[in-house]
């Protein structure tokens, strides 16, 4: 359904745009029909940038994003609007997605004005009600209210309902859970699972690993704009191969296990453009090769459906944990 080929985004910074800041470097992956893919990474790893590039909100520097055979970056005005009938995004902060002066259902009216100008009012109302029920809201309770009268979970579901009005095929969900409370969190997650079973593909961007595990079939781990590990969720979680993924898995706060004694390196956390392995200055593998510093490792298939970008992974993977 969606395919990214060597997509890069390089920002120009500095007074005259003289400095370059690569946010995303040569990222390639695909999302199949009815699939949920998690994009996991820490802040500044470029996960939101990828989401925005897919949505066409920012231009891509090089590479190609292909959606059902269409090159997304070449779309202009009318074609782009057509693209938005199929692809929509929901973002992190439901509170700032609304204008507090207007009622919350204004977001629906904008959709009607832009995308369905000819639809009759009764028919439109029916469509809204259907869409609200699909996300588990009672239309009588939530319509005609101001944003501050609705809870964060309701507002977030409003935004998903808005995306559903368009009968979309692909949803970019950028950290949509992180602002919600624990008790409503799971409901929004379950909603995504249900939407998937109805034929929607989702790119689930998150920094919370347990949420990623709950909902996705495949996971992609990003570090400083490059994919360091990618593959089926089970394999990534139970047999992480890249040292970064291992460190990440060890620092997830869990309810069934206390943190292990893993020292976390905080000093070498500068965003710099290394020619070599992106993780070189934080990597703690005892036998770091000199070549890691000058050559960037390629993404290779370590086992079926499990890719890793680390030249030293074979040694690291001496102890393989079975998947329970």
């Amino acid at each position: 359904m969606l395919k990214l080929e060597k997509v890069s985004k390089i920002y120009k910074t500095g007074t005259f745009g003289g400095k370059l800041l690569p946010a995303v470097v040569d990222v390639s992956f695909d999302v199949k029909d009815r699939e949920v893919v998690s994009l996991i990474g820490e802040s500044g790893s470029g996960k939101s940038t990828i989401g925005k590039m897919i949505l066409g909100l920012i231009s891509i520097t090089s590479g190609k994003i292909d959606f059902n055979g269409i090159d997304v970056s070449t779309l202009r005005k009318k074609e782009l609007k057509k693209y938005y009938y199929d692809v929509q995004g929901v973002f992190q902060d439901p509170f700032s997605s609304y204008n507090p002066i207007f009622k919350a259902d204004r977001i629906f009216n904008i959709i009607r004005k832009e995308f369905f100008p000819k639809m009759k009012y009764a028919e439109w109302k029916d469509k809204i009600n259907k869409s609200l029920r699909a996300v588990g809201l009672n239309p009588d309770q939530v319509l005609n209210k101001f944003p501050h009268q609705l809870s964060g979970g309701q507002l977030q579901r409003f935004l998903i309902a808005r995306a559903l009005l368009l009968d979309i095929q692909f949803l970019v969900a950028d950290e949509i859970i992180s602002m919600l409370d624990a008790s409503t969190r799971v409901d929004v997650l379950n909603l995504l699972v249900e939407l998937k079973s109805r034929g929607l593909s989702i790119l689930f961007i998150t920094h919370d690993l347990s949420l990623g595990y709950y909902i996705s079939e495949r996971a992609i781990i990003l570090y400083r704009g490059t994919i360091v590990e990618m593959g089926e969720t089970d394999k990534i979680y139970y047999r992480p191969l890249h040292p970064y993924t291992k460190m990440l898995m060890a620092s997830v706060p869990r309810l069934d296990k206390k943190w292990e004694e893993v020292k976390i390196e905080l000093r070498g956390k500068k965003a710099e453009t290394a020619v070599g392995c992106v993780y070189y200055d934080r990597c703690k593998a005892t036998d770091k090769k000199k070549s890691c510093m000058i050559k960037r490792p390629e993404l290779v298939e370590a086992e079926s459906g499990h890719f890793v970008a680390c030249d030293c992974y074979k040694k690291v993977a001496a102890k393989i944990n079975p998947i329970p």
Binding site: E42, A182, D208, I264
Partner: protein
Amino acid sequence: MSLKINNLKVYYQTLRGDVKALDGATFSISDGEIMGLAGESGCGKTTLANSIIFLNPPMKYIEGSVKLDGEELPIWDMKKMDKFRFKKISIIPQYAMNALNPTRKIGKMISELLDSKKVNYRKTKPELERRLDLVELTRNVLNMYPIELSGGMKQRMVLVLSTLLDPSLLIADEITSALDVSTQKAVAEMLVEFRDRKFVKCMIVITHDISILYQIADNILVMYAGKLAEKASTKTIIHSPRHPYTKLLISSLPKVGVKSSEKKLTGIPGNTPMLLNPPLGCRFRDRCPLAFSKCTEEPPFIEIEKDHFVACWKEHKKNA
């Protein structure tokens, strides 16, 4: 007994009446204890924290007492509290990253802050530098502006700053929620280390992320809609909670190893009640699957086992 809070009530004054954000909190924290405070947004966690240290309008003191190291804190009096703030009680606020003055170099800001408390900066500096080493910040940060530090670095800076005068009580309000998992772990572990090194006597760690508390807290207090719901040791809260709200909350958390296709988690249906005119009786009643007639009366927060407090009629009955 380091901190003892008795029936503390703090309301918010609004034009439409008082919002009962903290309605009768009674608990104590002993020396060297890290107490986790968990609950949904709007349950009164931050109100509890702020009222102990900086009770400013629209917050309104109603009744109750707070005792720290046997001494009564005059929390209703902003001026008298000055003596205790920073020296005896310290807080790391929710958006600590934005708490640093952007127009001052960090070292200068600290010296001004110490000046206002009549503490000599020069004499404190060696200790300050030792602690910077401890949280893995270079000593050079004192000559930097806050903008030059990353979010995690600022958070660690504020941690050092708030604990500089060895307060008896440190309140850490959601300090890990805006950080990446790896930094989150490092900061959480630093809290424990600061306790172990006796920089702070006891700590209240507020977060909505219970899994963090499981890693670092000794005891957990769960709040719901301005009331205390349950307090027990971390192990008990996670593995054998008694209050229906805690039970539902714990079971709704996604864990690594739980897949939507294998085990579907459920949230808690319904919403938290409005605190402007909260319903009488148990405030969780409307969402509680076990609610019965007695729940229209307010359940007291009592000890059903040693160090295990619960406010639920069902549990009281079982125990009686």
